[in-house]
Every structure is written in structure tokens, then in C-alpha cells.
């Protein structure tokens, strides 16, 4: 009946956020969400299995904090113009994370943090090609991705 209960619930809530919180919209939204859940099941996507729910708020907090920090850093660099010497460069990072959902979340984190951009991922070797805007110390960025994000994602997904 409900192959993806979370997806169905999220869609129903989204429906009510966009319309109004009334019994009629709840019924209509739930109906639409259930049909969408069936449609999703027909695509047979890999079923995501979250092992550690409790770590998600921690990851969210870390990422939000990092986004604020890097927003300030990148805005500062742009406003300083060419007065400051800056090297940007590509960085290859070996990843232990292979779960597609985990990789997708990592891509969202890396992309929404100004200063780092996900360029390419090699699924055969499990390496990520990352572009860093202000590359002072390669080890520092490697450490950031591996220890700060990947470690948590590994615990959540694998």
C-alpha cells in the first residue's frame, strides 16, 4: 500500500504547505502522495536504508555552519578582487563512500558550500575530483571532506 511511507508523508506535507492545512487538502494531498509513491515504486529505485537517524541533525548543523563560514570567505575574496594572491585548483579525493544516496548527499553538501565544487566522480575507482576556490593547503581540504563529512555519511548510510 505504501512502498515509500516517508516520501508519501513528505509529499502530503508539501501539498498542505502549498495550499492550506485543512481536512479537505489533507485528503487530497494524501491521495496524490499515495499515487506518487506507487509511481516511485514502479521505477524500482534502490531502497535507501538509513542506519543512524540520530546523526542527521548533527550533519545538518555542521553543514549549515560551514555554509555560513564559506559564504563569508568567498564573498570576502571576491570583494578583495585581484589585490590578494589566490590559487584555485583541482583535487582528487579517494572516497570510501559508495552508497548512491550518500554520494548524492555529499554532492549537495559540496555544491551548496561556496568554495568547493564537485567536478567529477569515478565510480570504478571511487575517486572524486573536486575544485577548490581558495586552495592553500590540500591536506586541509582532504581532511574536511574525509573526516568532517564522509565519516558521518558512512555512519548514516553504510
Amino acid at each position: 500500500m505504501l512502498p515509500y511511507p516517508l516520501l508519501t508523508a513528505a509529499l502530503a506535507i508539501m501539498w498542505m504547505l502549498l495550499t492550506s492545512f485543512s481536512p479537505g487538502q489533507l485528503l487530497l494531498g494524501t491521495a496524490v502522495a499515495m499515487v506518487a509513491g506507487q509511481g516511485m515504486a514502479a521505477l524500482h529505485p534502490a531502497k535507501p536504508r538509513l542506519r543512524r537517524w540520530d546523526l542527521i541533525p548533527k550533519l545538518t548543523a555542521i553543514v549549515l555552519y560551514d555554509i555560513v563560514r564559506s559564504n563569508i570567505a568567498v564573498a570576502g575574496i571576491i570583494l578583495q578582487g585581484r589585490r590578494r594572491q589566490r590559487t584555485s585548483g583541482l583535487l582528487t579525493i579517494p572516497l570510501e563512500l559508495h552508497h548512491p544516496m550518500g554520494l548524492a548527499v555529499l554532492a549537495v553538501i559540496v555544491t551548496s558550500t561556496p568554495g568547493t565544487a564537485w567536478i567529477d566522480y569515478n565510480s570504478a575507482r571511487g575517486t572524486l575530483l573536486l575544485h577548490v576556490f581558495d586552495l592553500v593547503d590540500e591536506k586541509e581540504w582532504l581532511d574536511l571532506i574525509k573526516n568532517r563529512y564522509e565519516q558521518l555519511l558512512l555512519e548514516i548510510f553504510e
Partner: protein, 125 residues
């Protein structure tokens, strides 16, 4: 409350701060897009707009309409979520196209993709 002029001063200030922050960051991002020198540098600048640029404006909008209509108005958060989860798609598309072009033109780019002739090597790296 139904008019913006009836907002209490603290709310008006808070809304203005978030709105200016969001709009300012987006402006800095677009400036960077114009002024930075290489393609890979340029893709970093608009992420200012898609992260806290959007975030600030969304926050301002949520506070404004929550105060004005005297009920929580939070559906703007969906805008933030959708902008965040869809940005990587376009960014990766652009970045990989640039990478492909650079490799075709023989520029020195590190390899990460198996389609580049470097894959026959044993996994010694």
C-alpha cells in the same frame, strides 16, 4: 496586521537585515561571476546566491508574512530545499562539460573518469 507599516520595529529591522544579507550575497556572487578569470573559478561565485543568498531572502519572507498574517507561513522553506537539491545537477553538467573540453584540448587536468584512456593502468595509484 495587514499592512507592512504596522510591523513592529524589531520585526522590520530583522526582515531588512535578512533581506539585505540575501540580496547582498547574491549581488557579490554575480559580481564574482563577471570578474573572475577562469571557468572553474566562476562556478563558485553563483553558489553564494544559491546558498545564503536564497536563505536570507527566504528567511526575510517567512518572518514578514508570518508577522503580517499572524500565523506561521513557512512554505518558503520549500524554495530553499528545492534550490539546494537541484543546484548540483546543473553545476555538475557545466563542470563536466568544461572538463571534457579541457581534456579534448589537451590541457593538464587530473583524471577521475574512466573514459579517459588512463583506466588500463593497474590499480597501483
Amino acid at each position: 496586521m495587514s499592512h507592512a507599516s504596522e510591523l513592529p520595529i524589531w520585526a522590520a529591522l530583522l526582515i531588512s537585515v535578512f533581506l539585505l544579507l540575501g540580496a547582498g550575497l547574491t549581488l557579490v556572487g554575480t559580481l564574482g561571476l563577471v570578474r573572475l578569470q577562469t571557468f572553474y573559478d566562476r562556478i563558485h561565485a553563483p553558489t553564494l546566491g544559491s546558498s545564503w543568498g536564497t536563505g536570507g531572502i527566504v528567511m526575510a519572507s517567512m518572518i514578514f508574512f508570518t508577522m503580517l498574517q499572524s500565523r506561521p507561513v513557512i512554505h518558503e522553506i520549500l524554495i530553499g530545499i528545492f534550490v539546494t537539491v537541484t543546484t548540483p545537477v546543473t553545476l555538475m553538467l557545466l563542470a563536466r562539460a568544461a572538463l571534457h573540453r579541457d581534456r579534448l584540448e589537451g590541457r593538464d587536468v587530473p583524471m577521475a573518469s574512466p573514459a579517459d584512456g588512463e583506466t588500463d593502468e593497474p590499480a597501483a595509484d
